[in-house]
Symmetry: C2
Subunit: 314 residues, 2 copies
Amino acid sequence: MKKTLSKGIDIVIVGAGPAGITAAIYAKQDNRNFRIFESKKTGWFAAVSADSHYFIDGFPGTSGKLSGSELMNSFNSHLKYLNIKVEKKEVVDIKRENKHFKIFLGNGEKITTKTVILATGTVPKRLNVKGEKELFGKGVSNFCTVDGDNFKGKKVVVVGGRNSGAVASIYLHKLGAKVVLVERDECLNAKAKYLKKIYKNKIDYELNTEVIEIIGSSKVEAVSVFNNKTKKENILRCDGVFVYIGLQPNNYLAKKLRLKLTKEGYVKINDRCETSLRGIYAAGDITGNVKQIVVACGQGAVAAYNVNKYLLKS
Amino acid sequence: MKKTLSKGIDIVIVGAGPAGITAAIYAKQDNRNFRIFESKKTGWFAAVSADSHYFIDGFPGTSGKLSGSELMNSFNSHLKYLNIKVEKKEVVDIKRENKHFKIFLGNGEKITTKTVILATGTVPKRLNVKGEKELFGKGVSNFCTVDGDNFKGKKVVVVGGRNSGAVASIYLHKLGAKVVLVERDECLNAKAKYLKKIYKNKIDYELNTEVIEIIGSSKVEAVSVFNNKTKKENILRCDGVFVYIGLQPNNYLAKKLRLKLTKEGYVKINDRCETSLRGIYAAGDITGNVKQIVVACGQGAVAAYNVNKYLLKS
């Protein structure tokens, strides 16, 4: 077991998505002594959406020719080139200690740091229905790119008819799953290019339909759905349930630190990426800004720049 | 001469640096009817600093392997790929007209637009000494990458010992000019890696030295300098003067629109990149944010995203 480092760490960056990675690149250039942690085993992109297999249009300089995973790989190469290592460890708690912060890792390790950049992003919203929690990982999933392979030739329900649900449906359909897309609204609210593929591939979908329970003993066997127009309940037999009903701020640590949050639960920052607590900065999707890779990168740079200025003064 | 387009333009983007280019990429994806203008003939990078010949460390995904001009070229390729054309025309005035804005171009063309994204960046600071204005383009320059070629084997004075002045001195030295770097402070305040090159290449420099006049009839012949320690004046014979004493906001249009500015003259924006005038947005260095390419890009995306939301509602 590593010894506790009680001094010498300038910055702990929590989260290695676009914001955290960019912050690390800047911290390295400032010759800062820092560590960067990521709890997810998958990369940030796969973890968020099936879009990883689609091209990223908006990242300048890529000509829209890179897929999400290729862009992620180019970021990871940049880290490797600068000899920055993302540690796959979970930050489970952060406590203020005089003018410093104590970071508690899942493996029991403790670190003292002068500053923190929170780049914890978002997590998928839950349905909050019976069976969801119990069967998570036993057929219930948020990540078709990670778990989809298990459902070739099987029946899956995708919940949510916006972009991410539509893309997941197409992705699972192409993998060979028999997909039913369910949406509680009266129409699918995805981009035209995704809807076209849904129709072309004759993917089943049910509108005005809410999932009210996930059924199964040791694994998913069916979902119970309610049609909010006909007011009728129905059972859809299936082997998997992929939930794509949006994202919510991953604000667990922010709450532990009692940072000021917006009413949606995002971390409030000013134009220097400072939170309400001196020494704690935030960047990327956790701040509730426009959820685009290049925006998160820009904020990561701003956070690291201002952390460096703060450290020079303190 | 083109006819005035009185209707149909959603967005005019002023400036095709990193912020303007990213805004254009997003506007294109939103299927917006927009035009983007750039008054400079050179690209944004060459126009700002000799750093264009150095590697950009901080742009994620490049592994620090791209020079400034290569990165600029990759942005331009992205524009080309999306069939976006930057028009090399100067916006000389913008006037509010009911709920719209009238854009006046240097060639006499007038355009009506619903929204404007100001991405006009910064311009070099002037010395404000006698002879500077009169001899500009006749030996006085801010752009060594543009004008440096004219000074091979000749004597040049570079004014300003921070990063950009140091880099310019090295650049001009390598081109074969005989360089004297003058700095009014008692030391050169450039990055260690640049200073090393100054010393290694034995580039002359004079500290505590202020340029008080640029002398010459039809072209630069000398500068008059004042040593603020010895209080003595001196004449340095030279053929060129390159001024690198910092940047100031290019806020000419912002002032015409009477936008709220910071005390340094940058355009005040909120976290949606809205200025004090409804329908006018700003992004990039003109906002006074951290002057980094990736930060400007992030703001360009935020501005375009919010312009699109505004247009959907209006």
